[in-house]
Protein backbone atom coordinates (compact mmCIF):
# COMPACT_ATOMS: atom_id res chain seq x y z
CA UNK A 1 0.00 0.00 0.00
CA UNK A 2 1.20 3.52 -0.65
CA UNK A 3 1.16 6.26 1.95
CA UNK A 4 -2.15 7.85 0.98
CA UNK A 5 -4.10 4.59 1.16
CA UNK A 6 -2.43 3.84 4.49
CA UNK A 7 -3.63 7.25 5.63
CA UNK A 8 -7.14 6.57 4.34
CA UNK A 9 -7.28 3.35 6.28
CA UNK A 10 -6.08 4.91 9.55
CA UNK A 11 -8.28 7.97 9.04
CA UNK A 12 -11.29 5.71 8.49
CA UNK A 13 -10.69 4.05 11.83
CA UNK A 14 -9.79 7.05 13.97
CA UNK A 15 -11.51 10.00 12.26
CA UNK A 16 -10.82 13.28 14.04
CA UNK A 17 -7.94 11.93 16.03
CA UNK A 18 -5.85 11.85 12.87
CA UNK A 19 -4.89 15.51 12.73
CA UNK A 20 -2.80 16.05 9.62
CA UNK A 21 -1.31 14.23 6.65
CA UNK A 22 1.80 15.58 4.99
CA UNK A 23 1.66 13.92 1.60
CA UNK A 24 4.16 16.09 -0.24
CA UNK A 25 7.11 14.94 1.87
CA UNK A 26 9.51 12.32 0.51
CA UNK A 27 8.49 10.03 3.34
CA UNK A 28 4.91 11.13 4.10
CA UNK A 29 3.88 11.44 7.74
CA UNK A 30 0.65 11.41 9.67
CA UNK A 31 0.18 13.58 12.74
CA UNK A 32 -1.94 11.80 15.34
CA UNK A 33 -3.55 13.16 18.50
CA UNK A 34 -1.12 12.55 21.36
CA UNK A 35 -3.53 10.62 23.57
CA UNK A 36 -4.47 8.26 20.69
CA UNK A 37 -0.97 7.08 19.70
CA UNK A 38 -1.08 3.83 21.69
CA UNK A 39 -4.39 2.86 20.07
CA UNK A 40 -3.25 3.87 16.60
CA UNK A 41 -0.06 1.83 16.75
CA UNK A 42 -1.94 -1.16 18.18
CA UNK A 43 -4.38 -0.92 15.26
CA UNK A 44 -1.56 -0.54 12.73
CA UNK A 45 0.06 -3.71 13.99
CA UNK A 46 -3.11 -5.80 14.35
CA UNK A 47 -4.86 -4.91 11.09
CA UNK A 48 -3.96 -7.53 8.45
CA UNK A 49 -3.91 -5.02 5.58
CA UNK A 50 -1.56 -2.64 7.37
CA UNK A 51 0.44 -5.26 9.36
CA UNK A 52 2.97 -2.65 10.46
CA UNK A 53 4.69 -5.05 12.80
CA UNK A 54 8.08 -3.36 13.07
CA UNK A 55 8.89 -0.12 14.87
CA UNK A 56 12.06 0.82 13.00
CA UNK A 57 12.85 3.93 14.94
CA UNK A 58 11.38 6.11 17.64
CA UNK A 59 12.89 9.54 17.93
CA UNK A 60 12.12 12.82 19.61
CA UNK A 61 12.77 16.24 18.07
CA UNK A 62 12.68 19.60 19.81
CA UNK A 63 11.13 22.59 17.99
CA UNK A 64 11.34 25.63 20.30
CA UNK A 65 10.91 28.15 17.46
CA UNK A 66 7.61 26.81 16.14
CA UNK A 67 4.37 28.45 17.25
CA UNK A 68 3.44 27.12 19.70
CA UNK A 69 6.81 25.68 20.77
CA UNK A 70 6.60 21.92 20.76
CA UNK A 71 8.38 18.61 20.85
CA UNK A 72 7.62 15.81 18.47
CA UNK A 73 7.88 12.09 18.90
CA UNK A 74 8.35 10.35 15.56
CA UNK A 75 7.47 6.70 14.97
CA UNK A 76 8.82 4.99 11.86
CA UNK A 77 6.72 1.92 11.20
CA UNK A 78 7.45 -0.81 8.67
CA UNK A 79 5.70 -3.95 7.58
CA UNK A 80 7.83 -7.02 7.02
CA UNK A 81 4.91 -8.69 5.32
CA UNK A 82 3.90 -6.01 2.79
CA UNK A 83 7.20 -4.06 2.78
CA UNK A 84 5.48 -0.69 3.18
CA UNK A 85 6.33 2.02 5.67
CA UNK A 86 4.65 5.01 7.27
CA UNK A 87 5.72 7.72 9.68
CA UNK A 88 3.54 8.73 12.62
CA UNK A 89 4.11 11.87 14.64
CA UNK A 90 2.68 13.23 17.85
CA UNK A 91 3.11 16.73 19.25
CA UNK A 92 3.62 17.56 22.89
CA UNK A 93 4.29 20.85 24.73
CA UNK A 94 7.91 21.47 25.65
CA UNK A 95 7.24 21.83 29.37
CA UNK A 96 5.63 18.89 31.19
CA UNK A 97 5.86 16.76 28.06
CA UNK A 98 3.79 13.60 28.34
CA UNK A 99 3.13 10.97 25.69
CA UNK A 100 1.46 7.56 26.15
CA UNK A 101 3.84 4.62 25.81
CA UNK A 102 3.61 2.16 22.91
CA UNK A 103 5.57 -0.46 24.80
CA UNK A 104 2.63 -2.87 24.88
CA UNK A 105 2.62 -3.03 21.06
CA UNK A 106 6.33 -2.85 20.27
CA UNK A 107 8.74 -4.28 22.83
CA UNK A 108 11.61 -2.24 21.45
CA UNK A 109 9.83 1.00 22.41
CA UNK A 110 10.88 0.37 26.00
CA UNK A 111 14.48 1.42 25.42
CA UNK A 112 13.75 3.99 22.72
CA UNK A 113 11.35 5.77 25.08
CA UNK A 114 13.85 5.64 27.90
CA UNK A 115 16.34 7.31 25.57
CA UNK A 116 13.82 10.01 24.62
CA UNK A 117 13.15 10.62 28.31
CA UNK A 118 16.86 10.74 29.05
CA UNK A 119 17.83 13.18 26.33
CA UNK A 120 14.63 15.23 25.92
CA UNK A 121 12.69 14.89 29.19
CA UNK A 122 9.57 13.50 27.57
CA UNK A 123 7.75 11.31 30.10
CA UNK A 124 6.03 8.30 28.58
CA UNK A 125 2.90 7.56 30.60
CA UNK A 126 2.38 3.92 31.48
CA UNK A 127 6.02 2.97 30.78
CA UNK A 128 7.22 0.10 32.94
CA UNK A 129 10.72 1.39 33.70
CA UNK A 130 11.06 5.13 33.10
CA UNK A 131 14.71 5.66 34.02
CA UNK A 132 17.66 7.31 32.36
CA UNK A 133 19.49 4.99 30.01
CA UNK A 134 22.57 6.62 28.47
CA UNK A 135 23.45 9.35 30.97
CA UNK A 136 24.30 8.76 34.65
CA UNK A 137 21.34 8.47 37.00
CA UNK A 138 22.29 11.64 38.86
CA UNK A 139 22.62 13.79 35.74
CA UNK A 140 20.51 16.95 35.81
CA UNK A 141 18.72 18.12 32.68
CA UNK A 142 18.13 16.79 29.19
CA UNK A 143 20.99 17.64 26.79
CA UNK A 144 19.38 17.27 23.38
CA UNK A 145 16.84 20.02 24.07
CA UNK A 146 17.72 23.10 22.06
CA UNK A 147 17.90 25.33 25.15
CA UNK A 148 20.53 23.14 26.81
CA UNK A 149 23.49 24.88 28.43
CA UNK A 150 26.51 22.86 29.55
CA UNK A 151 26.80 22.82 33.34
CA UNK A 152 29.92 24.15 35.08
CA UNK A 153 30.17 21.26 37.50
CA UNK A 154 29.24 17.61 37.61
CA UNK A 155 29.55 15.96 41.03
CA UNK A 156 32.06 18.60 42.11
CA UNK A 157 34.23 18.15 39.00
CA UNK A 158 34.80 20.99 36.55
CA UNK A 159 33.10 20.26 33.26
CA UNK A 160 34.86 23.16 31.57
CA UNK A 161 38.37 24.26 32.58
CA UNK A 162 38.52 27.50 34.54
CA UNK A 163 40.68 30.56 33.95
CA UNK A 164 42.93 29.49 36.81
CA UNK A 165 43.45 26.04 35.31
CA UNK A 166 44.30 27.60 31.96
CA UNK A 167 46.93 29.79 33.59
CA UNK A 168 48.49 26.89 35.44
CA UNK A 169 48.61 24.87 32.24
CA UNK A 170 50.34 27.72 30.48
CA UNK A 171 52.84 27.80 33.30
CA UNK A 172 53.92 24.34 32.30
CA UNK A 173 51.78 22.25 34.63
CA UNK A 174 50.19 19.29 32.92
CA UNK A 175 46.55 18.99 33.95
CA UNK A 176 45.29 16.62 31.32
CA UNK A 177 42.17 18.66 30.56
CA UNK A 178 41.13 20.62 27.57
CA UNK A 179 40.24 22.11 25.17
CA UNK A 180 40.16 25.49 26.87
CA UNK A 181 37.19 27.63 26.16
CA UNK A 182 38.72 30.67 27.88
CA UNK A 183 41.14 32.81 25.97
CA UNK A 184 44.52 32.15 27.55
CA UNK A 185 46.28 35.34 28.71
CA UNK A 186 49.09 36.32 26.42
CA UNK A 187 51.84 35.44 28.83
CA UNK A 188 55.56 35.59 28.24
CA UNK A 189 57.24 32.27 29.00
CA UNK A 190 60.96 32.86 29.56
CA UNK A 191 63.23 30.55 27.62
CA UNK A 192 65.78 28.60 29.60
Amino acid sequence: MDASSLHQKIKGQFGDRVLHFEEAAAQPWIVVATEAIAEVTAFCKADPELALDNLMCLSAVDYPKETPPRMEVVYHLYSYEHLHAIVLKVHTPREEAHVPTVEATYGVANWHEREAYDLFGIVFDGHSDMRRILLPDDWIGHPLRKDWVDPDFYNGMHVKPTQQMAERALGGEKLGVGPFDVTPPNRHVPSE
Binding site: A26, L55, M56, C57, S59, V87, V108, R131, L134, P143
Partner: protein, 389 residues
Protein backbone atom coordinates in the same frame (compact mmCIF):
# COMPACT_ATOMS: atom_id res chain seq x y z
CA UNK B 1 8.88 14.44 39.25
CA UNK B 2 12.24 13.18 38.15
CA UNK B 3 13.36 12.08 41.62
CA UNK B 4 10.26 9.94 41.80
CA UNK B 5 11.17 8.34 38.49
CA UNK B 6 14.74 7.53 39.46
CA UNK B 7 15.39 4.11 40.88
CA UNK B 8 19.12 4.11 40.36
CA UNK B 9 20.35 0.99 42.07
CA UNK B 10 18.06 -1.65 40.74
CA UNK B 11 16.77 -4.16 43.22
CA UNK B 12 16.82 -3.54 46.93
CA UNK B 13 18.12 -6.17 49.35
CA UNK B 14 14.78 -6.40 51.14
CA UNK B 15 13.02 -7.34 47.88
CA UNK B 16 15.14 -10.46 47.38
CA UNK B 17 14.17 -13.95 48.42
CA UNK B 18 16.40 -15.76 50.90
CA UNK B 19 18.29 -17.75 48.29
CA UNK B 20 18.67 -14.93 45.83
CA UNK B 21 21.80 -12.96 45.19
CA UNK B 22 22.70 -9.98 43.05
CA UNK B 23 25.66 -10.56 40.78
CA UNK B 24 27.23 -7.71 38.86
CA UNK B 25 28.69 -8.80 35.55
CA UNK B 26 30.86 -6.07 34.10
CA UNK B 27 31.60 -3.31 33.27
CA UNK B 28 35.11 -4.77 33.00
CA UNK B 29 34.18 -8.32 32.17
CA UNK B 30 36.08 -9.56 29.10
CA UNK B 31 33.16 -11.43 27.59
CA UNK B 32 30.74 -8.51 27.60
CA UNK B 33 32.45 -7.18 24.45
CA UNK B 34 32.98 -3.72 25.83
CA UNK B 35 31.90 -1.79 28.86
CA UNK B 36 28.54 -3.29 29.59
CA UNK B 37 27.26 -3.96 33.11
CA UNK B 38 24.60 -6.55 33.70
CA UNK B 39 22.91 -6.93 37.05
CA UNK B 40 21.89 -10.54 37.49
CA UNK B 41 19.43 -11.65 40.10
CA UNK B 42 20.52 -15.22 40.68
CA UNK B 43 19.20 -18.21 42.51
CA UNK B 44 22.18 -20.51 42.70
CA UNK B 45 23.31 -20.91 39.11
CA UNK B 46 19.99 -19.84 37.61
CA UNK B 47 19.35 -16.27 36.52
CA UNK B 48 15.94 -15.12 37.73
CA UNK B 49 16.16 -11.72 36.07
CA UNK B 50 18.75 -9.57 34.34
CA UNK B 51 19.09 -5.83 33.91
CA UNK B 52 21.62 -4.46 31.45
CA UNK B 53 23.07 -1.05 32.27
CA UNK B 54 24.51 0.81 29.31
CA UNK B 55 25.92 4.29 28.76
CA UNK B 56 29.55 3.81 29.87
CA UNK B 57 30.72 4.70 26.37
CA UNK B 58 28.24 7.50 25.71
CA UNK B 59 30.03 10.17 23.67
CA UNK B 60 27.03 12.37 22.79
CA UNK B 61 27.12 11.51 19.09
CA UNK B 62 23.72 13.07 18.43
CA UNK B 63 24.67 16.27 20.25
CA UNK B 64 27.98 16.51 18.38
CA UNK B 65 26.18 15.95 15.08
CA UNK B 66 24.11 19.08 15.66
CA UNK B 67 27.21 21.23 16.06
CA UNK B 68 29.16 20.22 12.93
CA UNK B 69 28.19 20.37 9.26
CA UNK B 70 26.86 17.39 7.33
CA UNK B 71 30.18 15.99 6.03
CA UNK B 72 31.71 16.63 9.46
CA UNK B 73 29.43 14.02 11.01
CA UNK B 74 31.00 11.19 9.02
CA UNK B 75 34.11 10.72 11.21
CA UNK B 76 31.82 10.55 14.23
CA UNK B 77 29.72 7.82 12.62
CA UNK B 78 32.91 5.81 12.11
CA UNK B 79 33.41 5.77 15.84
CA UNK B 80 30.03 4.29 16.68
CA UNK B 81 30.47 0.71 15.55
CA UNK B 82 34.24 0.73 15.46
CA UNK B 83 34.38 -2.88 14.24
CA UNK B 84 32.43 -2.04 11.07
CA UNK B 85 33.05 1.62 10.30
CA UNK B 86 32.44 1.33 6.55
CA UNK B 87 28.85 0.30 7.14
CA UNK B 88 28.16 3.25 9.45
CA UNK B 89 29.46 5.94 7.14
CA UNK B 90 27.77 4.29 4.16
CA UNK B 91 24.40 4.47 5.92
CA UNK B 92 24.90 8.12 6.78
CA UNK B 93 26.08 9.04 3.28
CA UNK B 94 23.07 7.27 1.74
CA UNK B 95 20.67 9.08 4.06
CA UNK B 96 22.08 12.54 3.27
CA UNK B 97 22.18 11.73 -0.43
CA UNK B 98 18.52 10.77 -0.24
CA UNK B 99 17.78 14.04 1.51
CA UNK B 100 19.57 16.05 -1.18
CA UNK B 101 18.58 13.90 -4.14
CA UNK B 102 22.12 13.01 -5.21
CA UNK B 103 22.62 9.97 -7.41
CA UNK B 104 26.13 8.57 -7.41
CA UNK B 105 27.67 6.87 -10.41
CA UNK B 106 27.69 3.07 -10.84
CA UNK B 107 31.46 3.13 -10.40
CA UNK B 108 31.14 4.63 -6.91
CA UNK B 109 28.29 2.27 -6.09
CA UNK B 110 30.38 -0.76 -7.03
CA UNK B 111 33.27 0.37 -4.85
CA UNK B 112 30.84 1.01 -2.02
CA UNK B 113 29.46 -2.52 -2.34
CA UNK B 114 32.97 -3.97 -2.32
CA UNK B 115 33.94 -2.03 0.77
CA UNK B 116 30.69 -2.84 2.57
CA UNK B 117 31.01 -6.54 1.89
CA UNK B 118 34.70 -6.67 2.82
CA UNK B 119 33.71 -4.92 6.04
CA UNK B 120 30.94 -7.43 6.62
CA UNK B 121 33.41 -10.30 6.35
CA UNK B 122 35.84 -8.52 8.67
CA UNK B 123 33.13 -7.76 11.18
CA UNK B 124 31.77 -11.29 11.16
CA UNK B 125 35.33 -12.59 11.59
CA UNK B 126 35.44 -10.70 14.87
CA UNK B 127 31.89 -11.69 15.82
CA UNK B 128 32.26 -15.41 15.18
CA UNK B 129 35.85 -15.54 16.38
CA UNK B 130 35.24 -13.84 19.71
CA UNK B 131 32.09 -15.87 20.16
CA UNK B 132 34.15 -19.03 19.92
CA UNK B 133 36.67 -17.55 22.32
CA UNK B 134 33.95 -16.69 24.86
CA UNK B 135 32.95 -20.31 24.88
CA UNK B 136 36.46 -21.66 25.05
CA UNK B 137 37.61 -22.20 21.46
CA UNK B 138 40.71 -20.08 21.11
CA UNK B 139 42.21 -21.23 17.82
CA UNK B 140 39.48 -20.14 15.36
CA UNK B 141 39.75 -16.63 16.75
CA UNK B 142 43.41 -16.41 15.75
CA UNK B 143 42.73 -17.80 12.28
CA UNK B 144 39.90 -15.34 11.70
CA UNK B 145 41.89 -12.36 12.94
CA UNK B 146 44.63 -13.29 10.50
CA UNK B 147 42.17 -12.96 7.64
CA UNK B 148 40.61 -9.82 9.01
CA UNK B 149 44.09 -8.38 8.97
CA UNK B 150 44.24 -8.91 5.21
CA UNK B 151 41.03 -6.95 4.78
CA UNK B 152 42.30 -4.15 7.01
CA UNK B 153 45.42 -4.02 4.84
CA UNK B 154 43.23 -3.57 1.78
CA UNK B 155 41.40 -0.72 3.51
CA UNK B 156 44.63 0.88 4.63
CA UNK B 157 45.97 0.68 1.13
CA UNK B 158 42.84 2.37 -0.20
CA UNK B 159 42.23 5.16 2.27
CA UNK B 160 45.12 5.19 4.70
CA UNK B 161 43.28 4.10 7.82
CA UNK B 162 42.91 0.70 9.38
CA UNK B 163 39.80 1.09 11.51
CA UNK B 164 38.23 4.54 11.24
CA UNK B 165 38.15 5.33 7.56
CA UNK B 166 36.11 8.47 6.81
CA UNK B 167 35.77 6.83 3.41
CA UNK B 168 32.14 7.12 2.28
CA UNK B 169 31.51 10.79 1.67
CA UNK B 170 28.25 12.50 0.88
CA UNK B 171 28.09 12.12 -2.90
CA UNK B 172 31.18 9.99 -3.36
CA UNK B 173 34.27 8.51 -1.80
CA UNK B 174 37.40 9.98 -0.30
CA UNK B 175 39.74 7.96 -2.53
CA UNK B 176 39.58 5.81 -5.61
CA UNK B 177 40.77 2.22 -5.21
CA UNK B 178 44.49 1.90 -5.90
CA UNK B 179 46.02 0.22 -8.93
CA UNK B 180 46.02 -3.54 -8.43
CA UNK B 181 43.21 -3.55 -5.90
CA UNK B 182 41.14 -6.03 -7.88
CA UNK B 183 44.02 -8.48 -8.01
CA UNK B 184 44.68 -8.18 -4.29
CA UNK B 185 40.98 -8.57 -3.57
CA UNK B 186 40.84 -11.75 -5.63
CA UNK B 187 43.87 -13.11 -3.85
CA UNK B 188 42.16 -12.54 -0.51
CA UNK B 189 38.99 -14.21 -1.75
CA UNK B 190 40.89 -17.22 -3.02
CA UNK B 191 42.42 -17.69 0.38
CA UNK B 192 39.11 -17.08 2.11
CA UNK B 193 37.16 -19.54 -0.02
CA UNK B 194 39.76 -22.29 0.02
CA UNK B 195 41.18 -22.04 3.52
CA UNK B 196 39.53 -19.74 6.02
CA UNK B 197 35.89 -20.50 5.53
CA UNK B 198 36.10 -24.30 5.33
CA UNK B 199 38.47 -24.20 8.27
CA UNK B 200 36.02 -22.10 10.27
CA UNK B 201 33.18 -24.49 9.55
CA UNK B 202 35.24 -27.55 10.47
CA UNK B 203 36.92 -26.08 13.52
CA UNK B 204 34.10 -24.16 15.12
CA UNK B 205 30.65 -24.30 13.59
CA UNK B 206 30.51 -28.09 13.19
CA UNK B 207 32.33 -28.69 16.42
CA UNK B 208 30.32 -30.96 18.69
CA UNK B 209 31.24 -29.11 21.87
CA UNK B 210 30.34 -25.79 20.33
CA UNK B 211 26.96 -27.07 19.14
CA UNK B 212 26.13 -28.58 22.52
CA UNK B 213 27.11 -25.38 24.20
CA UNK B 214 25.02 -23.03 22.02
CA UNK B 215 22.11 -24.88 20.40
CA UNK B 216 18.97 -24.70 22.49
CA UNK B 217 19.80 -21.68 24.63
CA UNK B 218 18.63 -18.10 24.18
CA UNK B 219 15.74 -19.13 21.95
CA UNK B 220 13.98 -16.18 20.35
CA UNK B 221 10.71 -16.65 18.45
CA UNK B 222 10.20 -14.71 15.18
CA UNK B 223 7.35 -12.65 16.69
CA UNK B 224 9.46 -11.65 19.67
CA UNK B 225 12.36 -10.80 17.37
CA UNK B 226 10.21 -8.52 15.22
CA UNK B 227 8.57 -6.89 18.23
CA UNK B 228 11.98 -6.06 19.70
CA UNK B 229 13.23 -4.96 16.29
CA UNK B 230 16.03 -7.48 16.05
CA UNK B 231 17.55 -7.08 12.62
CA UNK B 232 20.29 -8.56 10.51
CA UNK B 233 21.69 -11.96 11.47
CA UNK B 234 19.84 -11.88 14.81
CA UNK B 235 16.47 -11.71 13.06
CA UNK B 236 17.41 -14.14 10.31
CA UNK B 237 18.59 -16.60 12.94
CA UNK B 238 14.97 -16.78 14.12
CA UNK B 239 13.67 -17.58 10.65
CA UNK B 240 12.37 -14.53 8.72
CA UNK B 241 14.54 -14.10 5.59
CA UNK B 242 14.53 -10.31 5.83
CA UNK B 243 17.49 -8.51 4.36
CA UNK B 244 17.41 -4.89 3.21
CA UNK B 245 19.79 -5.70 0.38
CA UNK B 246 16.98 -7.86 -1.08
CA UNK B 247 13.86 -6.07 0.18
CA UNK B 248 14.77 -2.43 -0.45
CA UNK B 249 17.92 -2.61 -2.58
CA UNK B 250 20.38 0.27 -2.45
CA UNK B 251 23.79 0.75 -4.09
CA UNK B 252 22.69 -1.57 -6.88
CA UNK B 253 22.46 -4.68 -4.72
CA UNK B 254 19.60 -5.87 -6.94
CA UNK B 255 22.18 -6.66 -9.63
CA UNK B 256 24.09 -9.18 -7.56
CA UNK B 257 23.22 -12.79 -7.04
CA UNK B 258 23.33 -13.97 -3.47
CA UNK B 259 21.28 -15.95 -0.99
CA UNK B 260 19.91 -14.79 2.35
CA UNK B 261 20.88 -17.47 4.86
CA UNK B 262 18.40 -18.11 7.66
CA UNK B 263 18.51 -20.18 10.82
CA UNK B 264 17.65 -23.84 10.29
CA UNK B 265 17.10 -25.04 13.82
CA UNK B 266 19.18 -28.04 12.87
CA UNK B 267 20.53 -28.88 16.31
CA UNK B 268 17.76 -27.59 18.54
CA UNK B 269 14.90 -25.13 18.57
CA UNK B 270 14.89 -22.45 15.86
CA UNK B 271 16.27 -19.07 16.88
CA UNK B 272 18.86 -20.27 19.37
CA UNK B 273 22.33 -18.82 19.90
CA UNK B 274 23.70 -21.40 17.49
CA UNK B 275 21.36 -20.28 14.70
CA UNK B 276 22.34 -16.63 15.00
CA UNK B 277 25.97 -17.56 14.78
CA UNK B 278 25.35 -20.02 11.96
CA UNK B 279 23.72 -17.25 9.92
CA UNK B 280 26.79 -15.08 10.43
CA UNK B 281 29.11 -17.81 9.26
CA UNK B 282 27.04 -18.45 6.13
CA UNK B 283 26.76 -14.72 5.42
CA UNK B 284 30.52 -14.50 5.14
CA UNK B 285 30.33 -16.94 2.24
CA UNK B 286 27.52 -14.93 0.60
CA UNK B 287 29.54 -11.73 0.97
CA UNK B 288 32.42 -13.44 -0.76
CA UNK B 289 30.03 -14.35 -3.58
CA UNK B 290 29.00 -10.71 -3.96
CA UNK B 291 32.64 -9.66 -3.88
CA UNK B 292 33.54 -11.97 -6.76
CA UNK B 293 30.83 -10.37 -8.91
CA UNK B 294 31.61 -6.83 -7.81
CA UNK B 295 35.35 -7.15 -8.45
CA UNK B 296 34.65 -8.50 -11.90
CA UNK B 297 32.32 -5.58 -12.56
CA UNK B 298 34.87 -3.09 -11.28
CA UNK B 299 37.57 -4.52 -13.51
CA UNK B 300 35.45 -3.99 -16.63
CA UNK B 301 34.40 -0.46 -15.68
CA UNK B 302 36.15 2.64 -16.81
CA UNK B 303 37.82 4.64 -14.10
CA UNK B 304 35.74 7.62 -13.05
CA UNK B 305 36.16 10.50 -10.67
CA UNK B 306 34.88 9.29 -7.30
CA UNK B 307 34.45 12.84 -6.03
CA UNK B 308 32.52 14.01 -9.05
CA UNK B 309 29.19 14.38 -7.24
CA UNK B 310 30.61 15.56 -3.92
CA UNK B 311 28.86 18.90 -3.30
CA UNK B 312 30.98 21.93 -2.44
CA UNK B 313 28.56 22.84 0.28
CA UNK B 314 26.14 20.33 1.71
CA UNK B 315 23.03 22.33 2.49
CA UNK B 316 19.82 20.32 2.07
CA UNK B 317 16.46 22.05 1.79
CA UNK B 318 14.03 21.83 4.67
CA UNK B 319 12.92 18.26 5.11
CA UNK B 320 13.58 15.02 6.85
CA UNK B 321 14.59 11.53 5.90
CA UNK B 322 14.91 8.14 7.52
CA UNK B 323 17.62 6.28 5.67
CA UNK B 324 18.57 2.74 6.51
CA UNK B 325 21.02 0.20 5.28
CA UNK B 326 22.06 -3.31 6.09
CA UNK B 327 25.14 -2.92 8.27
CA UNK B 328 26.94 -6.09 9.39
CA UNK B 329 25.01 -6.08 12.67
CA UNK B 330 21.59 -5.34 11.21
CA UNK B 331 19.56 -2.42 9.99
CA UNK B 332 21.28 0.83 10.75
CA UNK B 333 18.92 3.77 10.48
CA UNK B 334 19.59 7.50 10.41
CA UNK B 335 16.75 9.92 11.00
CA UNK B 336 18.01 13.28 9.76
CA UNK B 337 16.02 16.50 10.06
CA UNK B 338 17.19 19.51 8.05
CA UNK B 339 15.75 22.93 8.84
CA UNK B 340 16.96 24.50 5.61
CA UNK B 341 18.74 27.43 7.26
CA UNK B 342 22.18 26.33 8.42
CA UNK B 343 24.79 23.89 7.24
CA UNK B 344 24.42 21.81 10.41
CA UNK B 345 21.84 19.04 10.74
CA UNK B 346 18.93 20.05 12.94
CA UNK B 347 18.69 16.58 14.42
CA UNK B 348 20.39 13.27 13.76
CA UNK B 349 19.02 10.20 15.43
CA UNK B 350 20.67 6.83 15.02
CA UNK B 351 18.73 3.63 15.26
CA UNK B 352 21.52 1.27 16.08
CA UNK B 353 20.95 -2.45 15.57
CA UNK B 354 22.99 -3.28 18.67
CA UNK B 355 20.84 -1.01 20.81
CA UNK B 356 17.69 -2.90 19.89
CA UNK B 357 19.47 -6.26 20.18
CA UNK B 358 20.50 -5.38 23.72
CA UNK B 359 16.98 -4.32 24.62
CA UNK B 360 15.75 -7.90 24.21
CA UNK B 361 18.47 -9.22 26.49
CA UNK B 362 16.45 -9.23 29.72
CA UNK B 363 13.70 -11.26 28.04
CA UNK B 364 16.04 -13.95 26.70
CA UNK B 365 18.19 -14.12 29.84
CA UNK B 366 15.35 -15.02 32.20
CA UNK B 367 15.75 -18.55 33.54
CA UNK B 368 19.20 -19.14 32.03
CA UNK B 369 22.31 -20.51 33.71
CA UNK B 370 24.96 -17.90 34.48
CA UNK B 371 27.48 -19.55 32.15
CA UNK B 372 24.97 -19.35 29.29
CA UNK B 373 24.66 -15.59 29.72
CA UNK B 374 28.12 -15.34 28.17
CA UNK B 375 26.98 -17.39 25.20
CA UNK B 376 23.90 -15.19 24.82
CA UNK B 377 25.77 -11.88 24.79
CA UNK B 378 28.20 -13.21 22.21
CA UNK B 379 25.45 -14.51 19.95
CA UNK B 380 23.69 -11.13 19.87
CA UNK B 381 27.01 -9.66 18.68
CA UNK B 382 26.74 -6.27 20.30
CA UNK B 383 29.32 -3.52 20.00
CA UNK B 384 29.02 -1.16 22.92
CA UNK B 385 30.31 1.80 20.97
CA UNK B 386 27.20 1.65 18.86
CA UNK B 387 24.79 1.00 21.73
CA UNK B 388 26.00 4.02 23.68
CA UNK B 389 26.95 6.20 20.71
Amino acid sequence: MSSQLHQPYGWRIEDLDTDEMILNMGPQHPSTHGVLRIELRTDGEVVRAARPHIGYLHRCFEKHAESVDYPGVIPYTDRMDYVASMGNSLGYALAVEKLMGIEVSPYVQTIRVIMAELQRIASHCIAVGTYGMDIGAFTPFLHLLRDRETILDLFEWTCGARLLYNYNWVGGLSHDVPEGFVRAGRQFLREFDRVTWPELMELLIKNKIFIKRTAGIGVCSPELAVSYDLTGPNLRGSGPPRDLRKDVPYCGYENYEFEVPVGQGRYGPLGSCFDRNWVRALEMKESAKILHQALERLEKMEKADVREKVPKRVKPAKGEVYGRSEAPRGQLGYYIVADGTGVNPYRVKVKSPCFTAMSIFHVLARGMMIADIIALIGSLDVVLGEIDR
